[in-house]
Amino acid sequence: MWRFFLLVVGLVGCVNVGVERVQVDLELQGTEFSGAVEGRNGAQVTVTRAEVAFGPLYLCAGAQAGELCKSSLLEWRNSHVVDALSDRVVEAGRLVGRTGTARSWMFDFGITSLLTQKDALLSDAAKSLGGVSAVLEGTAEVAGVTVPFSAEVRVEQSASAEQGLPVVRKSTNDVFEHDVKDRDRLQVQFNASAWLTQVDFESLLQDGTCTAGGATLLCDEQLELTCVGGVVDSQRDCTALGLFCQRDVGCVDQVGFGEGSQGYAAVRSAMEAGTRPDFVWNP
């Protein structure tokens, strides 16, 4: 009887359930650029600061993440600020989940929409960036003018029908499939420069004409014109001040992409649906 019991206990220990619980190391990496990238209208964009809040991240077994990913294969619910200009690999933590084939992903840039409340949740990473998803700074060379810029971008879920879902998801064009094993390493590589390629820096430099009822601050080359009643009342040379003239704003030390601006929308759109980070699996 005792031998039978031992046999049974041994057999019980041989349970095979097909899947195993796994942990996958998550590594984050930026892309180091020594030069500039070409932006819209031939602008040469050089990014000098790109800090990005990243997380949470979900990997799904289905080909389409989002509402169809009711149960994720792996998840990492933390956040981390990524220096997107550094190619130094940073260990951010571990994805936890189970074995299986990962076919899609979805993540947030530090600002997470919750199903249960209207206001999105700021991650620690986003908080450290001042409540935004990314802080980008750099310069753009446009028509011989150097335009310093900075952008503080919030990337968050805005579609009410998708409340509670991560905002960035793998598109059908993205190639992503991997059989997950324990102790795999997943590296997420960001290319922040690419997010700025659709910013229309040239439009920031467009000259204006002083007209009645028009803007009060205009640019003429690098001269800042102050209009009063359709007549130029005063002017100053931005270049001489070490500044540059931004359309409708006047002399500024750098362009700030405010919410509603083309630059803001372009960067946000690029982060949300444009250039995707690369997902690289390492054994």
């Binding site: 619980r21 936890v96 199903l115």
Partner: protein, 896 residues
Amino acid sequence: MGLKSNIRVPWMAGVLAIMTPVGLGSAQEVSDAVETANPPLQPPRLLESPPPRYPEEHVGEGLHPTVVLQVTLNRLGGVEGAEVEHGAEVRHQADPAFNEAAVAAVRRWKFAPATRDGVAIASRIRVAVHFSLPGFDLIPTLPEVQGTGQPWVTESSHLRDSLEMGEPAHVHTGKDEGHPHWLHHTFGARAQVEADALREPHRAAGDVVVGREVLAAAPRREGAEVLSSAPGVFMARGEGDAVGHRIMLRGFDAEHGQDLELKVGGLPINLPSHIHGQGYADLGLVIGEVVDELQVKEGVYDPIQGDFAVAGSVNMKLGVADRGHGWRLKSGVGSFGATRQFALWAPPDESEETFGAVQYQRTDGFGRRRRGQSASGIVQAGFGEGAWRYRLLGMVYGARADLAGVVRRDDVAAGSVGFYDAYDFSTAQQQNGSTSRVMAGFMGEYRGPDGDSGDFGVWLSRDDFRLQENFTGFVQRSQTLDDVAGRGDLIEQLNATTTLGLWGRYQTLDYHLDSWFVGALEFGMSGRMDVVEQAQNLIDATTRSQTWDRRVDAGIRATDIGFWTEAVVSIHSRLDVRGGLRADALSFAVEDRLGNFVPTVRPDDAFIEGFRRSAAGLAWGPRFSTAYLLGDGVRMMAAYGEGYRSPQARTLEDGEDAPFTKVRSSDVGLRWEPERAFGRDKALELNASLYWTHVSDDVAFEAREGRLERLGASRRMGATLFARANPWEGVVGAVSVTYVDASLLEPPPATPDNPTPAFEKGQNLPLVPPLVVRADVGAHQTLWSKHPGVGPTDGETPFDVLDGHVGTGFSFLSSRPLPYGAFADPVSLLDLSAGLDWGPFHLTLEVFNVLNARYAAVEYNFASNWDPSAVPTRTPARHIAAGAPRTWMAVLEVSL
């Protein structure tokens, strides 16, 4: 026995016992004696009467002898001695074989002792044992017991334990020479004792009949838990006291009954197409004190087994053997504000199956949201004379309980919620369930004078069910209302089922083709029509339970008509073969009132919601079983059968050939029940079986919708050991060990969520425990007697004897795989009881989960989000519904 129940002695069908006064005159004299003496005496009553073994050497000779015995009973009702007063004669010659068989049988009988002034006393009775083939014969005349002038039979003898007490016939005032000095009283009575079961209870080695003595051995929290004494069964209430138990049986996670055909008193309990799970069965209506035995069929080898008999079937036979003085009142109080009140009326002069019982119980619960109360009543009456015997059964049950729901193990580990607590959110705090059911049945049994038999039943049932339960926290969004989400996944399930059913069966006379070959045919049918109304909604607990989404609103009409036939053959009285076929025609009409509803995206549809459809199908399969007698009480048994589970009607398309879940089951094993062991009769039973089961379409619990979803084909292989022993007087024990290797045979169905579910050959089924162990042990003993060493004496009061009893039940459930690669913790539970019996008073202390094990009554692994203000988690996590910690209950019983 024989063609009906006993492989070893296929011709022996039963016994007739008539207890008469010893040395008495006519019935009139009996009456006179009573009036003269007017003694406050109550004669003994027959409690159990296993039938005698028909002597093998006379098999096939067509003999129907009667043996009259004088039987001496001690004050505990035990048989002290049995002497042949009038032996059997075969061809005008005394034949000891029948005499020995009769004496051996009567020694196994159990009686409630005779009493005088309520004090148990020793007594002597006359018993006539009649042998017949293959069932109980009607006694066509009223012959006279030789030398007594007393007619010893007045009616047919096929009634189960229906001892009909005669008037006390004679009271000796002095010592009875030749007997111990305490043997003062003899009684006259006529008895009708148990015939064989109408149908063979043991088709396969895994089939077990668990008797009252085992069921009463261990303490039970509630009546339904008697089911846990069936081999391979583990049961737990994970969803409060108003939702049915989750039952695991022999490698099946039968959920609430999807894989287990359950009957109480012969009435089917499973509910088809129930919103909470196919075959939902709530055994809360069961009152443990009136369950006489469990008739367990593991596997599907008997053509009488119908829908949901996938892992097997269990019938709880109702009856009250220990009838006492007619009334039993119990009152119990226990930990966590638990109380139980129970009353039983079982008139002593009626058959065992006649009784009325009612119970009420409530508890404040062992943690938050665990308060509940329930009440149930069962009334049954057996009546009828001659070949026909009838039974009326009515059951009513109602319960309402708060529900703690599930908690995530990681939350428990993090300390954000207690193991026995519920989440603080309104959507968790408003979980509850309520249910009610009423059932009534009229049944009849026929035992023809020549051995043919039949039975029928007509029954009616109404069940109402409502549940508010949240498994997943906050992950749902409304499919009906735009931009509405995250109000809490409090699922409301409503189900009302009205059922009318009937069955009938007839087994022909035995056909004797030769002396070594006997056969019979059986035909049967069953039918039921279920009218189901059901709905499932999401409700917002924060705003007066507003409905914020509709998921199901449907009406179902389901009809199941089953037919079967079976041939029964016995060869050389050693080999029994049964083979038959069962077919069930099922039809469904579904009014899916949300059919064609397009969620939110197309608000201006050009049609009215609704999708009405109908479907039908035929499920059929063979059932075979065979048994071969190897030696003294050892039988080798093999069986194969095919059964089915009906589909959830809402999943059917119009005109679809209803896709039944097909189960193929086989079983080989040995069964050993020696005539004598441990120096006593029928004191040992051992069953060992190997089994294999293939299920075409298994299902598993899906938390998001709170119901069962398809899983795929599966296969189970395993072994079961069952042992019952009565090694010492007053000690009974039973133990079962069930091992199973349960595997998926094909990948689970693809879903958008998981288009290629992980699958490996031999992958184990989730939720199935590989090992289940159960042990029940009970013992009783006289602790103190005013007259030690002798029986009661004149003038003794009921309080001159103190008896004690102890009992224990142990359940072990091994670690079991959960979906998505997790494992549930093993469960070990030990229950103990101890009590004193002093006259009409019985005081018992029951302690459950003595070791205070912290265990999960049920455990799941699925994705949920119970922290609505944090980054949501989407990976599956272990969830538990806590089982009860150590609890106790003190019970005082008074027999009136």
